[in-house]
């Protein structure tokens, strides 16, 4: 076994280990992060990078081009599909309000775009189920909107 082969193996093993470690942190992030939106970050970035590193490591270690092409395809489709699924999940999560608002510094999607105000009864959220108790939901929504506008809660009560 020549020095070159040893170096190649060491590189491949290092890449494989780094990749699996990144995938592990993706799993950890799913447990440790507070809400769906943050968890989707963990599910996309370290995980995609981890899969890419594993693919590169395997491509170095494996002999023959046919396996390499397959690994390339896996990497490409991973990068194409992971953002799309993460986007769909987080979009639904946002619209169904599975969001920890206390962990948000700003929410421009709510306070910005198209007239700040309560969004309980807006008809543009097909995924938003009508609240079970409209009166309390409206009061809570106004309270949150008021807090988002730097404590101008009095305006919201009116």
């Amino acid at each position: 076994m020549s020095v070159l082969e040893v170096a190649r193996d060491v590189l491949a093993v290092a890449l494989l280990l780094a990749g699996t470690f990144l995938c592990l942190t993706a799993g950890l992030g799913l447990l440790r992060f507070p809400d769906v939106l943050a968890r989707m970050h963990a599910g996309t970035k370290p995980q995609v990078l981890g899969v890419l590193l594993v693919m590169v490591g395997a491509a170095i270690r494996l002999q023959g081009w046919s396996a390499t092409w397959m690994l390339l395809l896996v990497a490409v489709f991973q990068m194409l599909t992971a953002p799309v699924s993460a986007h769909m999940v987080s979009r639904v999560a946002y619209r169904r309000r599975h969001v920890r608002r206390d962990r948000l510094l700003v929410d421009e999607l709510r306070t910005g775009g198209g007239g700040a105000g309560d969004r309980v009864y807006k008809g543009d959220e097909p995924a938003d189920a009508p609240p079970e108790e409209p009166a309390t939901a409206l009061a809570e929504s106004r309270e949150e909107d008021g807090r988002a506008e730097n404590g101008r809660a009095e305006d919201g009560v009116r």
């Binding site: 470690f21 990144l22 942190t25 993706a26 950890l28 992030g29 440790r32 992060f33 507070p34 939106l37 943050a38 989707m40 970050h41 963990a42 996309t44 970035k45 370290p46 995609v48 990078l49 981890g50 890419l52 081009w65 046919s66 396996a67 092409w69 397959m70 390339l72 395809l73 990068m79 194409l80 992971a82 953002p83 799309v84 993460a86 986007h87 987080s90 979009r91 946002y94 962990r103 948000l104 510094l105 700003v106 929410d107 421009e108 999607l109 709510r110 910005g112 775009g113």
Partner: protein, 191 residues
């Protein structure tokens, strides 16, 4: 043989040529070996798929500038490594993550294909994830991880605009590149 007689079909075929090439390439990569049989069967299957399951044609963005594309890909790989390592560190460190934010950024491009590339790459790289997109007003809403103050928010906004600029310089038409220049915008949505 009678392909020339059906002008609309030929027109559509030319529009879908990149898709056909891509499908043939995937077919050959899946087989793992190159042979004429694979190539021909790949062409047949690609034609079958595009005829049976037609998609709306993708217009615009058919050009590709070599140098800006290389720059886009290079930054993309660097950002991918950077953001992957950063999020990995945020998951393992004891203090966990700080607060996050939902920001809305005003984009400048107006092409479906470019906006798709921008949104895809934004979800992968600068610590952000696309939540929603308003196609009419060209605004994109992102969830960004780990912001401490409004300075962080503005930095994220700037990096989103930078990413958009790289994509447009790599794949956009001259008009779209020109549309970048005058808009020294901050990316804030006009309310």
């Amino acid at each position: 043989m009678s392909a020339e007689s059906a002008a609309p079909a030929a027109h559509r075929l030319r529009h879908q040529l990149p898709l056909l090439v891509w499908l043939v390439l995937v077919w050959n990569l899946l087989w793992g070996t190159w042979s004429w049989a694979n190539l021909l069967s790949g062409v047949a299957i690609a034609l079958g798929v595009t005829l049976l399951l037609p998609l709306p044609p993708v217009t615009g963005g058919s050009r590709l500038r070599p140098l800006p594309t290389l720059s886009f890909l290079g930054w993309f790989v660097l950002d991918l490594i950077g953001s992957g390592a950063l999020v990995a560190w945020q998951t393992v460190r004891p203090s966990g993550i700080d607060r996050s934010a939902v920001i809305t950024v005003q984009l400048r491009t107006d092409s479906d294909l470019l906006l798709t590339i921008v949104a895809e790459s934004l979800s992968l790289v600068p610590g952000s994830m696309v939540i929603d997109m308003d196609r009419e007003r060209r605004t994109i809403s992102l969830h960004v991880l780990h912001v401490r103050d409004s300075g962080d928010v503005e930095r994220q906004r700037a990096s989103v605009l930078k990413q958009e600029e790289r994509v447009v310089r790599a794949f956009g038409s001259p008009e779209e590149v020109a549309a970048l220049a005058p808009a020294r915008s901050t990316g804030r949505v006009a309310t």
